[in-house]
Structures are given as structure tokens and as C-alpha cells.
């Protein structure tokens, strides 16, 4: 049954068919060449773009300890539930719906109320899809357990771990330590990273001023993820470098004493080691609790802090500028003696007032002090003596001495918002009042009044110089820096700003006067005394507010022990009665605590 010849004619058509089909195959081959070889690179880029993610690895912030190693700032782990919205994208599924459903499901599993709204999700999806969307923060252990049991492994959600700042001593040293907040996202930093949660950033205090050191260096990692967002391969990256730990010069014990002494007042107290400028305590009252800012401060609390007229957020020790009043007198005395125009034995008569032309300048002691010499004038804080002293040596040596001691400019301590204060001089007066310097200005300056403004920290530096014999050290708070991985803190060397080369005669007189202030039975600062300890100091009272309001700042600077001083103190109290009545007892309480035999770590110094 051969029908072969009958179909022979069809062979031609079959061959045509085959050729046509092969031509199409060749076209397909050309297409493959175009896609795979000619444009292959574009597709490789597409591929990397969608499967390679850059993850920012935040660095652990450094801790802060006091000079003996007691923790002042620590990191505590905090757990949050994060939803990776990006990973929920799937063909034909509305991502926001999916995220909402997932969050609701997680809420049921974890028994947590769902506080985020659909708008939050949509907003996050629109603006920062690649970032994890934090749904619940600060999970309790119970929630974590529930997570591990029920919710772990649900795609698109994960536990986000982060170190939270913890200040174990609450308000103690709050102004020095400062607080942290979320760093603001800078476009530049966000862009190259797919996952990036803003890190902590110091907003005040050491946290802010040493932010660069504490923060460390954030790392990054390239990971290849699969379509569900699961990590597939590590493509390397840069490990984060933990921030450096700081050891402060603060002595927790002394810091607490200073704060206890200030309790009930608005004011500031600075305790310095006159031998090197280390700040042993820096207290400002009222204070705040930096823990309130972690992880974020509530609106009410923040409003309360900002609107509080006592301004608890202000570090009065560096940002408070006050007229010094009589605590400036030792500076005037040193200026006068060192100018060579006055000898230590110089005597002036105080009848209780002084007439300068038609103006009457009063001594605080109406009956007058009679004819006295410098040491007694310091002890008694006689205004008239200092008017005469100032007029005799002129204002310029005083201004120079004030500058030399660091007044009128920032000390450079590791604190933001430090204010320079003001040491008025001729050119300042001309600039400000279009008027030249007058003798009345000299008289005012001689008793620490007029336009003169100082910060408690600056006065602690002055007290230190008087204690150590004329060495002006840069006050500092950081004693050592411990790099990540190091065992020891690398010490920060004290910096001598100025050696004033004070003559021993002049020093003996002025320090002697300051000794009498506290130690003499008639001394204006005798309330600063501590049994068994030789304390020297100077009180001051400066009026402020509208004339006749009776508002006064009570000041005291002091150092102890008198021979080889280890502590220099400056304290100011707002709304005080006087330096001798209000401020001096605070110094006594502080020094009493420091020198109390049983006082443990702070006592021996």
C-alpha cells in the first residue's frame, strides 16, 4: 500500500516550512544575544538593585563613668517589633493592606493594642519603605516570650534590638551628662542604606559635646536577600565601631554632695581640683532626669521642662552668667598688688561710704570699718577699701587680671551652651554706651558689680588659681577616653592655660584674707567652716532684678585645705539673703561631706 509518489509533491512545502521555522529560531537567537550579551550589564544592575541591600549597622554608644569607674551612663537593651513593609510586596497584593493585616495579626498574637494607623503605614510606605516600621517599642519580657513562641518566623516582621541610654543616678549630674535623642535623618546618609534607623545623638551635656567620640562609627553591610527579604548571603561590608567610653573627672560622691547642698535652691556649684583643672562636681539646680528622654520624652513633660520658670534644662554652672559681687575682690586685690602700685600693707579708711564727686558709694557695713589694711579688708569684704584700691591702681590692671584668670571668655569646658560672661573695659563701654570709662565704673568693678558677669565655672577657675598660687588650668570634665577594645582609659592631660607668676607676698596677703573670711571669728564666710579643716574663701552678694526688688545672688568661692588645696569651690544661689548667710553653709556642707573621715571614696582625695 505504497502511496509514496502521491505525496512527493508535498516535500517542497515541508522544506519551505522548515526554512521559515529556522529563520524564526535564528531571530530568537539574535534576541538572546541582545539581551544577554549586548545589554547584559543593564540586567545585572537591575538584579543587584533588587537583591542587594545595604544595611546600616549602628554603632553602640560609649558608656560614661565617673573618676573611680562608677557608671554614670549605660546602655540597656530595648526590644521593638519592626515590620519590614518592603518585604510584604507580592504580585497583586496591596502592600499597605498586607502590612495592616500583618500588624493586626501580630497584635492579636502578642496581645498588644494596635496604635499605628493605616495612614502611618501608608506614610512610611511612601516615604521610607526600606526602613523597618517600628510598631511596638520597649517590649516587656512577657511580650518577648510570646513573640518567641507564637510570632517568630512570621515573614515581614522581626524583633529590632537597640541599646537605650540609661542614667542609673537619675537627676545626678544631669546637666553634665546631658541627654540623647534620635539623630535627624540627613538625606545624604539615608540614601545609600536600605535599612537605617536613626541613631542616638547627644542633645546636651557631654552626650552632645563628646558625641563624635561616644557615637563611634556606624558600619554597613551588603547582604543579598531573597524576594521575601530573608538574608541569603553576606557580601561583606564595614563592621561598626563602637563608640569610645568616657571617664569623667566627676567624683560621684562629691557630685551628690554638691547637689544635696544645693537642694531647695536655684543655683550652681562647681568643685574643681586646683592642681589640674579637673572638675570634681558640677551641679546646677533645679535639674532634670535624662531618663525621661529615653526613648523619647512625652510632650507634656517636655513642655513642662521648657516652660518651668526655674529653667531646669539650663546648666547654670556654665550657661549662668551672674554679677560676681564681692567674690571678685580677691581678683582686684591680686591685680592691685601685682600692678606694683599697691603694697600688701596699704591702709585705707572706711567711714562707711565714699564720695566720688557727687555720687555716694556705700560700704555694706554702714558704721564703716575704720582704717584697715588689705587682709582685713578681704576678711570684712570692705567696699570702701576696694573703691580706694581700685581707684589707686586704675581699672586696667583689674581688667587684665580678670582676663588672665579666664573671665570674659569661655573656658572651653566640654559643655555646649557655655557663656563667656563679660569683663567690661573702656572699649566695651564706648561700644555699648558711647561713653568713656569713669571712676565710678572702676569703683563698681572693684566690688564685682557693674556690667561684670561671670559663670560659676569661671569662678571655680579663679578659686583654683588662688588656691594653687596662680596657675590657671583649663577646667575639664573628661579624664580619660577608652577606645573600643582597649582595657584602660587613655588619660586626658591637664592643660595649663596661664601661669600668672604671682609674687608670694601678694599671694600670702590675699590668701590670708580669704583664710580669715572663713576661719576668723568675725569672717564674713565663717559659716563655710568645717571642724578640723582649714578652709579659705570669699563670699559675695550681688543684687539683681529691678532696683529695690531685694533680689540677691549669694556667692562663695572657697578652697581647702588651706595648705596644699585639693578642692576649689564656686557656688551661687539665686534669691539668696547674702553670700555669707546663704552660700557659705552650702560650702560647709559640701566640704564637711568631702572631709568626713568615714566618707569613703571622696574623703581622702
Amino acid at each position: 500500500m505504497t502511496v509514496r509518489p502521491a505525496i512527493e509533491s508535498g516535500a517542497f512545502r515541508i522544506r519551505i516550512l522548515l526554512v521559515l521555522m529556522l529563520v524564526l529560531c535564528a531571530l530568537l537567537g539574535v534576541m538572546l544575544w541582545k539581551i544577554q550579551v549586548a545589554h547584559g550589564h543593564d540586567y545585572v544592575q537591575d538584579l543587584d538593585r533588587q537583591s542587594v541591600r545595604r544595611i546600616r549597622l549602628p554603632a553602640m554608644r560609649g558608656t560614661i563613668v565617673d573618676r573611680s569607674g562608677a557608671a554614670l551612663v549605660e546602655n540597656e537593651p530595648s526590644y521593638a517589633v519592626a515590620v519590614y513593609i518592603e518585604e510584604l510586596r507580592q504580585p497583586g497584593v496591596n502592600v499597605v493592606d498586607a502590612a495592616e493585616a500583618l500588624i493586626r495579626r501580630l497584635g492579636e498574637l502578642l496581645q498588644l493594642p494596635v496604635d499605628v494607623t493605616r495612614d502611618d503605614i501608608a506614610n512610611h510606605y511612601r516615604k521610607r519603605l526600606p526602613l523597618p516600621f517600628i510598631v511596638w517599642k520597649n517590649l516587656s519580657e512577657e511580650t518577648l516570650a510570646r513573640w518567641a513562641e507564637l510570632a517568630a518566623g512570621i515573614p515581614g516582621a522581626d524583633i529590632y534590638w537597640e541599646g537605650l541610654r540609661h542614667y542609673p543616678h537619675g537627676q545626678t549630674a544631669s546637666h553634665v551628662l546631658g541627654y540623647v535623642g534620635r539623630a535627624s535623618l540627613t538625606g545624604r546618609e539615608e540614601e545609600p542604606y536600605h535599612y537605617y534607623l536613626p541613631e542616638w545623638e547627644g542633645k546636651s551635656g557631654i552626650e552632645q559635646s563628646m558625641d563624635d567620640v561616644l557615637r563611634g562609627r556606624a558600619g554597613g553591610k551588603l547582604i543579598r536577600v531573597d524576594v521575601a527579604g530573608y538574608k541569603h548571603a553576606d557580601l561583606g561590608g564595614l563592621d561598626p565601631e563602637a563608640g569610645s567610653d568616657l571617664m569623667l573627672t566627676l567624683d560621684l560622691h562629691i557630685q551628690k554632695l554638691a547637689e544635696e547642698a544645693l537642694e531647695g535652691h536655684n543655683g550652681a556649684m562647681v568643685v574643681m581640683d586646683p592642681r589640674n583643672g579637673e572638675i570634681l562636681a558640677m551641679a546646677s539646680a533645679p535639674a532634670f532626669d535624662p531618663n525621661d528622654f529615653v526613648p523619647a520624652i512625652s510632650h507634656e513633660l517636655w513642655a513642662g521642662l521648657r516652660e518651668n520658670p526655674a529653667k531646669p534644662m539650663v546648666n547654670r554652672a556654665v550657661a549662668g552668667n551672674y554679677p560676681p559681687g564681692s567674690i571678685f575682690k580677691p581678683v582686684v586685690a591680686m591685680a592691685a598688688l601685682e600692678s606694683g602700685k599697691i603694697r600688701p600693707g596699704q591702709r585705707f579708711n572706711c567711714p562707711g561710704y565714699m564720695m566720688l564727686g557727687k555720687a555716694r558709694f556705700n560700704c555694706w557695713h554702714k558704721p564703716g570699718h575704720g582704717e584697715i589694711e588689705l587682709r582685713k579688708a578681704i576678711e570684712q569684704s570692705c567696699n570702701v577699701y576696694f573703691y580706694d584700691l581700685g581707684l589707686m591702681c586704675g581699672h586696667e590692671p583689674i581688667v587684665h587680671m580678670a582676663y588672665a584668670l579666664g573671665l570674659g571668655r569661655k573656658t572651653g569646658v566640654e559643655m555646649s551652651y557655655e557663656r563667656a560672661g563679660l569683663v567690661p573695659d573702656d572699649s566695651w563701654k564706648r561700644r555699648t554706651f558711647s561713653d568713656g570709662w569713669r571712676d565710678g565704673d572702676t569703683c563698681n568693678m572693684s566690688i564685682g558689680q557693674g556690667a561684670l558677669l561671670v559663670s560659676p565655672l569661671q569662678m571655680a577657675v579663679v578659686a583654683s588659681a588662688l588656691a594653687n598660687g596662680g596657675f590657671v588650668y583649663a577646667p575639664h570634665l573628661v579624664r580619660g577616653v577608652r577606645r573600643n577594645g582597649d582595657e584602660k582609659y587613655r588619660p586626658v592631660q591637664p592643660r595649663l592655660v596661664n601661669d600668672l607668676h604671682w609674687s608670694s607676698d601678694a599671694l600670702r596677703t590675699v590668701r590670708g584674707g580669704m583664710f580669715d573670711v572663713v576661719m576668723a571669728p568675725t569672717g564674713t564666710g565663717r559659716k563655710a567652716g568645717v571642724p578640723g579643716i582649714e578652709v579659705a574663701g570669699k563670699t559675695g552678694t550681688a543684687e539683681y532684678g529691678p532696683k529695690g526688688s531685694g533680689l540677691k545672688y549669694g556667692w562663695m568661692i572657697a578652697f581647702a585645705p588651706y595648705e596644699n588645696p585639693r578642692y576649689a569651690v564656686a557656688v551661687v544661689v539665686e534669691e539668696a539673703y547674702s553670700g555669707g548667710v546663704t552660700a557659705a553653709p552650702l560650702v560647709s556642707r559640701l566640704l564637711g561631706g568631702i572631709f568626713r573621715p568615714a566618707a569613703g571614696e571622696g574623703g581622702a582625695g
Binding site: 509514496r4 515541508i14 522548515l18 538572546l32 544577554q36 545585572v44 504580585p91 524576594v227
Partner: protein, 371 residues
């Protein structure tokens, strides 16, 4: 009953080059199904590749059975085969298992079969039988109309499942079989014009998802995360393969799941091949297929009768359409139609029907006129 001498004689006459090519494609298929389901060391794999080996072995057995069986036996039972296929196609509409909104699967004692695969073969056999009948007037429009009817019934039934891709394969099969058998070109051109005129009507007959696929093909950016996703990811996979590819198991698009895991081993197996073996590998696979088509046409030319020739043409065209459409879809030249790649894509029904078809071609070749 078994005549061993005869069997040995037939085996000697088989197109072994074609057989080896088919075997190579099947082995490659298993290898790349393995790769497409591979997730990394130590991660449990879906057993797709093992199942595929079983299908391949069953297919191989069927291949030899068909090759050794006289294809005229098929011709004698052509209408029974056709009727059975149509009954199954009707049954699947009512009893079929719904997968992704389509009824394509029938369950026989726990084994899932796709009646449309059988239908394709049945249409080829029936058309070959009908057109090869001695004395059939190829110039007569009635012949063409009858052929279209034979194809039309299963076409509409498969379209109802709905499975546009498989249904569409039948069109070029019948047209090219008509062409090969000697139907005048003007008749075929008339059919083409008619088809073009009915295209807009056909558009409204399409399901929403089918329209969407075509729209997404025309502009993939309209839905990059939805319907455009597969197309885009497949293109990225193919494109990133480069000249030499990333190496077996090294493809990231399927390992990472960007190429959806549900389709990587079946409809998108070629993009796995292209990503992992690059241009060189994808061209090599394409050449293997060209060799298979050529083998079918060689058998057609060598066939001892018109029935055998038409069988070979039908099978060759069906294979060709599958391969071309699948690859064109993989590289983004055509809408996603859901047509698997013969011999390589994962799937039992398709593997068995293709191997049966290859067996038929061999059966024709073995019984060729001379040589």
C-alpha cells in the same frame, strides 16, 4: 507473541540522533529543575526533580511503546482517541480541579492529568487521519472547514478552562498541517485575514487575567509588582546571565525567589537555563530544539504515507510552537502565556504527551519508505 527479530530490526532503523537529542534535553530539564528548586546547602528541596525523573522514565517507556507500535493503529483509532479527548475536556470543565482560577486538571486515582495535553495529540492524529484519506480534495473549502472544525471543538473547550496558551497552539498546528498537505495558499491567506478581522471580537471573549497579561506585555511598567513581575524578573534573569552564565545552581533570580518559585521549574525553566548558562548555554539548548524539529521534519519527508507525514508535521509544529512561544515569553518578546517548554519544563502530563508524540514520529520514521 513478541517478535524479537522484528523489534531489533525496527530499533536499528530508529533515528537515534533524534532520540539522543530528546534524551539530552530531558536530562538538562531534570538538572535545571533541580537548580530551579535549589535553595542552598542544607535547605530541604521540593522533590520536583525526582518526580520529573519518574515522568521522564514513564515518558521514555511510552516513547518506545509508540515507536514500536505501527502508527496506523493510531489512524484506525483516531476518532476514538479524539472522542475520548473531547469527553475528558468536557469533564474537566465540570470536575476539574481549580488551580489559579482555571480548570485544567482531572484526577484519576490520585494522578493529576491535563486532558488538554491529550487533546493536542488527538487533534494532530485526527487531522492527519482526516487529511490523509485518499481522494480528499485539498482545494475544496469543505476540507479546510472540516479540519478547522476538528480543531475548533477542542480549541473552544480548552479556551473555556481557560487555557489560552494551550488552545492557541492548536491554531498554527492546523494551519501548517493544511499548508503541508497542499491546501492552496489563497485559502490559508483568506483564513488569516478572517482571523485578523475576528481578533477584536476575540479580545472581548478573553478573561480579565488574559487581557491583563496582554496589556502588561505591551507595557510592563503598568504593574511591576503584579502581572508584570514575572516578565520583568524573567528578563532580568536571562539578561544577567551574560555570555557564559553564572553556573549551575548559581543563578540568583530563582534561588532568591525573584523568579517566582511556582513558575521557575515549569514555564520559566528556560530563564533559569539562560541565567545559569548564559548566551552560550541558551543557544546550545535552542540548537538542541532545532535538531528535534529538524528530526520531525526529516521523518515527515521520509514518511511512507501522507498520514505518517502529517503526524510528523503536526508533532513538529506543536513542539516548535511550544518552544518558540516559551522562549519568546522568557525573553520578554511575548506575553506570559503559560506554555511550558517541551521536554524540560516540570510536569507529568506534558512530558508524557510530548514523549508519546516523539514516539509517534519515530514510529513513522522506523516504517519509512527506504533507507
Amino acid at each position: 507473541m513478541i517478535d524479537l527479530t522484528r523489534i531489533r530490526h525496527m530499533l536499528r532503523r530508529m533515528d537515534w540522533a533524534l532520540f539522543c537529542t530528546v534524551g539530552a534535553l530531558m536530562v538538562l530539564g531534570v538538572l535545571f529543575i533541580y537548580s530551579a528548586t535549589w535553595r542552598g546547602d542544607g535547605i530541604p528541596m521540593s522533590p520536583f526533580y525526582k518526580k520529573q525523573i519518574v515522568w521522564a522514565l514513564i515518558g521514555m517507556a511510552l516513547f518506545f511503546l509508540m515507536a514500536l507500535t505501527d502508527y496506523h493503529l493510531l489512524g484506525e483509532n483516531a476518532w476514538w482517541l479524539y472522542a475520548t479527548a473531547m469527553v475528558l475536556l468536557v469533564l474537566v470543565l465540570f470536575l476539574g480541579k481549580e488551580v489559579y482560577g482555571a480548570h485544567r486538571w482531572l484526577s484519576f486515582f490520585g494522578v493529576q492529568v491535563q486532558p488538554s495535553e491529550l487533546a493536542k495529540l488527538a487533534v494532530i492524529v485526527a487531522l492527519a487521519k482526516y487529511l490523509s484519506r485518499p481522494g480528499r480534495d485539498m482545494e475544496s473549502p469543505q476540507t479546510t472547514a472540516a479540519a478547522l472544525l476538528i480543531m475548533g471543538l477542542p480549541f473552544i473547550l480548552i479556551l473555556r478552562e481557560p487555557d489560552l496558551g494551550t488552545a492557541a497552539v492548536l491554531l498554527p498546528v492546523v494551519i501548517l498541517m493544511l499548508y503541508a498537505v497542499g491546501v492552496p495558499l489563497k485559502t490559508l491567506i483568506f483564513l488569516g485575514v478572517l482571523g485578523l478581522l475576528f481578533l477584536p471580537v476575540g479580545w472581548f471573549g478573553l478573561d480579565q487575567y488574559q487581557k491583563k497579561r496582554i496589556l502588561v506585555f505591551l507595557d510592563p511598567t503598568t504593574d511591576p509588582l503584579g502581572a508584570g513581575w514575572n516578565k520583568m524578573q524573567s528578563e532580568i534573569a536571562v539578561g544577567s546571565g551574560g555570555l557564559l552564565g553564572k553556573g549551575w545552581l548559581k543563578g540568583t533570580q530563582n534561588v532568591l525567589g525573584f523568579l517566582p518559585r511556582t513558575v521557575a521549574p515549569n514555564d520559566f525553566i528556560y530563564s533559569v537555563v539562560a541565567e545559569e548558562t548564559g548566551f552560550v548555554g541558551s543557544m546550545a539548548v535552542l540548537f538542541l530544539y532545532v535538531f528535534v524539529f529538524a528530526g520531525c521534519f526529516r521523518a515527515a519527508l521520509a514518511a511512507r504515507d501522507a498520514f505518517g507525514r502529517l503526524l510528523c508535521i503536526g508533532v513538529g509544529v506543536m513542539l516548535y510552537v511550544h518552544v518558540m512561544v516559551n522562549i519568546a515569553m522568557t525573553v520578554g518578546l511575548m506575553p506570559i502565556t503559560g506554555l511550558p517548554l517541551p521536554l524540560m519544563s516540570y510536569g507529568g502530563s506534558f512530558m508524557i504527551s510530548i514523549m508519546a508524540a516523539m514516539g509517534i514520529v519515530q514510529s513513522v520514521y522506523v516504517r519509512r519508505y527506504r533507507g
